[in-house]
Amino acid sequence: MSQRVVITGLGAITALGEGAEALWQAVIQNRSGIGKVKLDENLEFPGGFWNDFDPEKFVTQRKALKVMARDIQLAVAAASLALDDASAKNLKEGHDRFGVIEGSGVLNHELDELAYSIQSSIGLDGKLDLKKFGSDGLPALFPLWLLKYLPNMPACHISILFDLQGPNNTITTGASAGLQAVGEAYRIIQRGAADLMLAGGAESKLNPVGVSEYQVLGVLSDCNGHDPRSMYRPFDVSANGFVIGEGSGFVVLEELEHAKKRAAKIYAEIVGFGSSNSSGRKIAMQAALREAGLSSKDLNYLQACGLGILKEDELESQAIQEVFNGASQLFVSASKPVMGFTGFSSGALDLIISTLSLRNQLIPPTMNFKRASKELGFQLVKRMPQKKTFNSAMTNAFGFNGQCVSMVTKIYEGR
């Protein structure tokens, strides 16, 4: 028999500000946090960015902050908020059975930090001279430089700050990493290896390296001359790429009895999780449904990945169509236009939205969606949130280039 796993805490930092509730309110109100982000003195770029994020509020040690890339600061903040929300910060017992799994990946360097070092490494011909880098450039970097950007450092810092001595993992499966991390944390509690797990992801790509890389890959919406809030359009016929968002989302997962014993607030129960390769959208959804013991006729709400890349959205809608086969009870929505595409954290943030949707019995609208290029084969919620009675939800995190994962959550019914 495996243990039952419930969600008892939500934490988010997004362009909408601090907390899961701030994100949820914006999602149901079609209010986008996307704006212009200052990348340099005279350089602005469209993106979902929270200007007032104050890492010092979450990490009081200045020295620790200095070795945290912004992604790490965001991760620590959302993890802290999730633990607060779960009232789980002051638990005295059992820390050897508390753990953390974070969805992460390559973290981008701060360029100015490298400038002096690289400047000292330029040879007479104006090109980089590795000999000079070894002798002059390298010593100019600060000693802990590497640790600031190692992908597993968010989970490391979180384990230290909150004394989580149990399982600790870092999942690097691109855009699906955050939700994959939650799925794996669910498995760990199911098999009895932990009682409480923080799981989620964080990403900050609203920086010169991130912007240039997404441009090379050709996946960004061209906002030229338009209000960037209107340019991110999942499933719409005019979808032309995503807008970068910065964000972090964490959930607290708990073994059911552990949560009950301390009378924790229970948001939902995780009942299904599926994972496949980068084109396995259908397989992931079907595996999650099967484990949840649901047929395609039983599910009322699907929080789609909805990347806003035309081809990716087509593949997702086709897979949804095939799995649910025109099921009329299914309502689908995609919320990324509100916060931007937040990479490693996007799946975890979408799970937070679907969890609040389940709790509020309100299915959010898909902002900026007007009409699809061809028949979608399912009902995509637009304009207004839909009040419904439903007890299960699916959340997808797919591509681009990452793996495919799908999770099913259910309203917890006390048993």
Binding site: L111, N152, P208
Partner: protein
């Protein structure tokens, strides 16, 4: 807690593949390890002549044309992708499962692929050409424009750790669970442990697992040098990695890949597969202490070993050999020794414990997988690979490290340790089948 009365699906190892600094397949690697051969030499991948550390464990005589020329593969692959494709190919062929009809969504991949590295000279040139005159700050607009015109999409994709598993899933036609863990030096052991759990709970019958990594690039070496984690014994490359020796001065960065095919026992039996060994124990913890230093009393390491023993349902007296993490840093080797003594108590001095990092260097995300392969072969061959370069006894390291020469011994069960920068601890146990 797991219900101990329920029979649990058993997991066996039915295939292995390796690309290491001592050999580009399992056979050559094992031959090198049993002869106490070092794979360490001067760095040739880039000009490291002015770096504090000029030595590493590079992969040699590798055919970098083989995989890009195969149909469906991109023309540009990172070193980590090359090594993984080669090692997985060997492991899949070795296991023979492709000869049977296995449903493709009942096969999964849980890998520990490191980041693909990147073209540092190109990146640095773009940064340097974008630096504002008379100050040390970068003109971001210029950086973005130059990056856009010079960097290729393929090279960007290869930077991403998940690109390796994309290649593997495509080339080996895997549709089941796909995941990738990157917990520094513990990553591939953690991947193997999680892959075992996936088969145990019945999600797949077969898992391709292991790791691949190369951090032998300017920023990788520079980063570890800044942390003073690397050995600087540049005049004696082959003697630089000396785990547990009193004169050890840091680890040696190396590269490569190690891969294991895990299979549900009945599935393996039914198809008459060759069974190398049974994977029976997995423990994972975090130190929750500091970014680089291990917990001074080995709290997390001790707990990981105890969890693995409990999972395997084995007493400490049943372990015949410990394949150590043994990095050759002052702190790791001392605290690993202390932790093993805490777990194994009076038995600790009787159990041989060696570190093959003395020969291979530290393959970071790929290290644990290659060490598990060595553990499996130790059981199969009745031969314990040595800790080479062991010359000077350290008071704080007083166990039997199998110094310098491989030792014949019947071995039934092996504990393999992996500890990561950042405090992740993983212990695995394999047993004779």
């Amino acid at each position: 807690m797991r219900d101990d009365k329920m029979p649990r699906r058993r997991v066996v190892i039915t295939g292995m593949g390796a690309v290491t600094p001592v050999g580009n397949n399992v056979k050559e690697t094992w031959l090198g390890l049993s002869k106490g051969q070092s794979g360490i030499g001067y760095i040739t991948i880039f000009d490291a002549s002015s770096f504090p550390t000029k030595i590493a464990g590079e992969i040699k005589n590798f055919d970098f044309n083989k995989w890009p020329l195969q149909k469906g593969n991109p023309k540009f692959l990172g070193r980590n992708s090359h090594f993984a494709l080669e090692a997985v190919n060997e492991a899949v062929a070795d296991s023979g499962f492709e000869k049977e009809r296995v449903e493709r969504d009942r096969i999964g991949i849980y890998f520990a692929a490191g980041d693909g590295g990147f073209d540092f000279p190109q990146y640095a040139s773009i940064v340097s050409e974008s630096i504002r005159e008379n100050e040390s700050s970068v003109n971001k607009e210029s950086f973005i424009q130059k990056s856009k015109s010079r960097i290729s999409a393929l090279s960007l994709l290869e930077k991403d750790p998940c690109q390796v598993v994309n290649h593997l899933a495509r080339v080996f036609n895997v549709h089941g669970i796909v995941s990738n863990s990157l917990t520094a030096c513990a990553a591939s052991s953690q991947a193997i442990g999680e892959a075992m759990e996936i088969i145990r709970r019945g999600e797949t019958e077969l898992m391709i697992t292991g790791g691949t990594h190369s951090m032998i690039h300017p920023l990788g070496v520079a980063g570890f040098n800044l942390l003073t984690a690397l050995s600087t014994r540049n005049d004696e490359p082959q003697h630089a990695s000396r785990p547990f020796d009193k004169e050890r001065d840091g680890f040696i960065l190396s590269e490569g890949s190690g891969v294991l095919i895990l299979e549900e026992l009945e599935h393996a039996r039914k198809r008459g597969a060759k069974i190398y060994a049974e994977l029976v124990g997995y423990g994972v913890t975090a130190d929750a202490f500091r970014m680089t230093d291990p917990h001074p009393e080995g709290r997390g390491a001790i707990q990981a070993m105890r969890l693995a023993l409990k999972d395997a349902d084995l007493g400490t007296e049943k372990i015949d050999y410990i394949n150590a993490h043994g990095t050759s840093t002052q702190l790791n080797d001392q605290i690993e020794t202390y932790s093993v003594k805490e777990v194994f108590k009076k038995n600790s001095k009787q159990i041989p414990m060696s570190s093959i990092k003395s020969m291979l260097g530290h393959m970071i995300a790929a290290a644990g997988a290659v060490e598990l392969i060595a553990s499996v072969l130790t059981i199969r061959e009745g031969l314990i690979p040595p800790t080479i370069n062991y010359e000077n006894k350290d008071e704080a390291c007083d166990l039997d490290y199998v110094p310098n020469i491989a030792r014949k011994k019947e071995v039934n069960a092996v504990l393999s340790n992996s500890f990561g920068f950042g405090g992740q601890n993983v212990a695995l146990i394999v047993k004779k089948f």
